[in-house]
Each structure stands twice: as C-alpha cells, then as structure tokens.
C-alpha cells in the first residue's frame, strides 16, 4: 500500500466483522468516506486442501470437498464425482443421476436462501433473514432424513451415492415445494421491492459484463451483469440436458444492469428455476435401481488429467485432477468461483461510500471456506 497521502486513511475491516461472511480482512484506503482502494487479505481459513488431497486416497477427498464451500456441500461433492467419473469412464445408473440432481438443486435453493437472507441482514433488513432461515431449515431436514447430516454430507460417492432415498422422500420434497413456491412472492414483498432495500442496492456497484469475464466472475454474479451463461445449459453435465428450465439474467429492472440489486434478483429467480427442475426430476425419478451398483471396488484412475467444470450456486466450480495411476491423486486443484468473485471487489467498489462496500461484498455472495481452501 506504500505511502499514505495527506487526506487518506487506512481502515481495517475484519478479520472479525459480521458482514465478511467468514474470516476476511479488507484493507480499505478511504478519502473521507469515499473508498479509493481495497486490498482483500485472505488465507485465514487456509486448511491445505490441495496438499492434503495428495496424501489421501480418492475416496478420502470427498469429505474435504464438503468443507470447502460449506454452504453448498452437495454441489461440491457433485463437481468432484462428475470429474472422477469422467476420468475413470464410469457410467452411473439413471436413478443415481436423478438423486444427485435433486440433491444439488435442493442445496442450490438452500444456498441462495442463506445468501439472500444474509444479504438483507447486511444492508439492515433483519426480518427476511428469519423468514429465509425458517425455510432453509426444511431443506436441511430433508438432507438429514437422507444421509443423517445437516451441513457436511459426504453423500455423493464416485459411482453412486452413500444412501438410497428413505421411504417417503419424494412426498416430503413435493410437500416442501408446495410450501416453498408461494413463499417466493412473500420474499419479494418483504425484501425485493422494499424501498429502503432498493435505495441501498439499485445502481450500486455496477459490474460491466466484459470486466466480469476478464476477472473470471461466474455464476449468478455474471448472469446479474446480463450474460446468459450457465454450465447446466451451455455445457450440460450429468443429466441436465433432460430438464426444461430458463437461465435468468439481470435486466436492469430497477437500476443499471449488473448492479447489486440485479445480482440479488437473479438468485431469487434461480430458486424458481431450481424448483422447476426439482419437479421434473421427481416426476421422472426411476423407482428401482441399486445406488451402489456402479461403485468401483478400488478407485485407481488411469494415467491422465482432467479439467471438469460444474455449476455450483456460486458459479463455475472446477476440479483439475492429475492421476499417475496410483490410488492417490498426483495433483488436485480446485478452481473456486468465490475466489474469482472476491478479486473483482476492488474494481467495482472504488469511488463508493464505505457503507456501500458492505452492500457490494454481500451481493457477490462469497464463502471464505472456498476462497482459502
């Protein structure tokens, strides 16, 4: 940061600050109340994920992926097993594919509910947070019913899933959807079109599409800037090509395209789309089939490497796996979407007020576990 000019002040936000969603420190240079530069300092949650993986067998990596993005663990498992299955050329039964999609979309809704609720909290709306956590709780209950865990599941395995669906699962999820879909209208009334919320987020922190692409921003943040890009549609993996759903993009409905409100609203619309996918998946879910049928006895992928991307709730989640033919990965790299999203913070917050930085940071929906790995 170097020499501080006369009117400048350096302000440390974090590492312990409620709006940093984890342990993040922002070194903010301010001129009065205007932000002139932000330097994110990360690494407080670094747990040597990639180093650990080189000393584990391939199965043992899965619980570690849970702990990277602990808000959307199912999606992290999903990305890893999709990459491994492609590397080993395993074909999993249809029933497993459907179960995985159901879990991934449920987790996407849960993750977005947390992101939106906490975002409301960041900009000063306490009530929506309680509403959204109340509903997220129901999804966690469904996960608990399925695999016994509420946050870190270790549910998807290479070639299958750990448990078959429990009795009455389909009805429970239908019940949840019937309950949840009308609630979206409620969220819109309580938060989305709230006048104060709009004042805090519309036109704030505009992220132009070409900047977003250059910074590798992906997922809802990129779509908020008006770029129609969703790996589930554009590079379908698993069985996503079988479902009919839309890819919502930011349209500048209230302010400018790519502002905080757009990023927020894209997530809101995505929950509807996830519910749509869920209904189709539940309808087509094959009744029979052994979920352990395709599990390999020993995971020993052939020599080679793979780069596989999947769409996590935060964006392009990719694994780069290099195998040397042994039961342990030679190299495993995780490309996390939140890492790239945080790197753009400085670019879009310069010139805004200090209090807007909280709104911009919250709208990027970062999870520090995934950034630091």
């Amino acid at each position: 940061m170097g020499i501080v000019k006369g009117d400048q002040m350096i302000l440390n936000m974090g590492p312990q600050h409620p709006s940093t969603h984890g342990v993040l420190r922002l070194k903010i240079s301010t001129d009065g109340e205007i932000v002139s530069n932000i330097e994110p300092v990360i690494g407080y949650l670094h747990r040597c994920f990639e180093k650990h993986c080189e000393n584990c067998t391939y199965e043992q990596v899965i619980p570690f992926t849970d702990r990277c993005d602990y808000i959307a663990s199912m999606n992290n498992n999903f990305g890893y097993v999709v990459a491994m299955e492609k590397l080993m050329e395993i074909k999993v039964p249809d029933r497993v594919e459907y179960i995985r999609v159901i879990m991934a979309e449920l987790n996407r809704i849960a993750s977005h509910l947390l992101a939106l609720g906490v975002y409301g909290l960041d900009v000063g709306a306490f009530t929506p947070f309680l509403y959204m956590f109340r509903d997220r709780e129901r999804i966690l209950d469904i996960f608990e019913l399925t695999c016994g865990a509420r946050l870190l599941y270790n549910y998807m395995w290479v070639g299958g899933v750990s448990h078959d669906l429990p009795v009455g699962f389909v009805e429970t999820v239908y019940g949840f959807l019937d309950y949840f879909e009308p609630k979206l209208k409620e969220y819109n009334e309580i938060l989305t079109y709230n006048k104060i919320f709009i004042e805090r987020t519309a036109d704030v922190g505009v992220l132009p599409p070409e900047v977003a692409i250059s910074y590798g921003v992906s997922g809802p943040n990129l779509r908020g800037s008006g770029v129609k890009w969703d790996l589930r549609k554009d590079e379908p993996y698993s069985i996503y090509e079988r479902f009919d759903f839309d890819v919502p993009v930011g349209e500048g409905t209230i302010g400018t395209t790519g502002d905080c409100w757009d990023r927020f609203y894209v997530r809101m619309l995505e929950m509807t789309e996830s519910a749509k996918i869920l209904r189709q998946a539940l309808k087509d879910l094959p009744q029979d089939g052994d979920v352990h049928q395709a599990l390999p006895k020993k995971i020993r992928p052939p020599k080679g490497s793979i780069y596989q991307r999947t769409e996590s709730p935060r964006g392009d989640l990719a694994y780069y796996i290099i195998s040397d033919g042994s039961p342990q990965p030679y190299r495993l790299k995780m490309r996390s979407p939140a890492f790239t999203a945080l790197s753009v913070l400085n670019e879009i917050s310069r010139g805004w007020m200090l209090s807007d930085v909280i709104a911009i940071l919250g709208s990027l929906d970062i999870v520090l576990g995934e950034i630091d790995r």
Binding site: G43, H46, N55
Partner: protein, 232 residues
C-alpha cells in the same frame, strides 16, 4: 398493494407491449415503475414461450459440441502457424498445446484478440510439479465465451530458476491465480505488479506443493504438525 396500482401497472404493460414504452417510463414512483417493468418482462417471456423451441435447442447444442471438437484442433494449428518457434510440437496433443515461456505474452495476446480464437476468459491456472528431479509446469485453461471452445496451454520451467511471463495484464484474474501459484510452487511471474503470497503468511518458508517440500518445524514458536503420509 391497492387495486388501483395494479390496474395502473396492467394498463402500462399493455401499452408497452404495443410499443409505447413511455407509458411505463412516465410512472413517477420508482417502485411502481420497476414492478411494471418486471411485469412487462414476464409478459414478453410468456409470449416467447408459446413458440415451440425445444427441438431446435437440442439440435443447436449438438452442433455446438461438434464445433468445439473441430475448433480445438484448428486452434493448435493456428498457433503452430503463427508462432512456429515457440511451440513444442512433440508434446502437444488433442486437448492441449505445449509452448516455450519466452514469447508467452505475445501468444496470450494473440489468443485473446484474434477473431478466430477470442479466448476472453482465463478459467484456471494450475501449477504442477513433474517430480522431485524434474521441472515445474504451469497449465492455463482458456475458454471463449463467443466461440464456446476451450484449450489448455502448458508451459514448463526449470525447478531452480522458475520464471514465466505474467499474463496479469491480459486477463485480470491472472493476478490472483498467479499469486496463488507463486505461493504454492515458488514460480515467479515476470511482470506481475505485486507478486506476494496470498493464502499463506508472508514469512512462511518453502513452497508447499512442491514434491520435495519439507515443513518447517516451528513458526513463530508454534510447532507445525507434519503431514501424515499414506493415510488409511
């Protein structure tokens, strides 16, 4: 919301669908105006949905995947033509190209700007240690949002003098990805504005993801636990 407002929005949307956007833009209250805009978008979407498009979608995606396959080989060809001296043809395969570090900046610029390539998005930078006695490697995964094709670029550098030109100014995300690779492998990216550790503390010793890495015994008086090998 009162019935009155709803009526107002409905009328404005109907007028806008006929091409008169002023009906919406003239609404004074910001919230009502945005609601009207949202309703308009919804109405347009529903109108678009009525046309059957599912079948055409499927054929499109098939064409795309065919396009990706052909263009991958073409791009390797293009670069070989453009920069014949910088490419190591023996080590190139279908999915990746192997280049020498010297001219990487120029090649990267070409890859981003040439109308046939247009790799506007740097997906990932992965460092690899090829073995305790051999070299280090940096792998770049590039993707084009326009042409929907992807390519992997690999650059090898020696273990003792690990230097690769920085592409931070070409793809902005290169900044953090290169810092991460430096942090884990000690590969220096020439031309990077602020090459410092990103995930580990600044005074950490050694490059953890190199295969010959030894953990330091203590850090500021704290005993550093050893990584267990061969967990069962």
């Amino acid at each position: 919301m009162t019935d009155n407002l709803e009526q107002l929005i409905k009328e404005a949307v109907e007028k806008a669908l006929e091409g008169d956007m002023d009906a919406i833009n003239n609404i004074e209250d910001r919230v009502t105006r945005s609601k009207a805009k949202a309703a308009l978008v919804k109405a347009k979407r529903e109108a678009a949905k009525e046309k059957p498009e599912v079948s055409s979608d499927e054929s499109d995606s098939n064409q795309d995947s065919a396009k990706i396959k052909t263009s991958n080989e073409n791009i390797a060809e293009l670069i070989i033509q453009q920069f014949p001296e910088d490419i190591n043809k023996d080590l190139c395969s279908e999915g990746h190209i192997q280049i020498h570090p010297k001219n990487w900046m120029a090649i990267a610029k070409y890859l981003r700007d040439d109308p046939a390539c247009l790799f506007d998005s740097l997906q990932c930078i992965t460092g690899v240690d090829l073995g305790e006695e051999s070299d280090l490697e940096v792998r770049y995964n590039l993707h084009s949002m326009t042409h929907l094709h992807a390519i992997e670029v690999r650059i090898t550098c020696s273990r003792n003098n690990a230097k690769v030109p920085s592409v931070e100014s070409i793809w902005r995300i290169g900044d953090w990805f290169e810092r991460e690779t430096y942090d884990m492998y000690g590969i220096e990216f020439d031309g990077h504005r602020d090459l410092s550790r990103i995930l580990l503390p600044e005074d950490w010793e050694g490059w953890p993801l190199r295969k010959d890495y030894d953990v330091q015994e203590t850090y500021h008086g704290i005993v550093v636990p050893k990584v267990k090998e061969g967990w069962e």
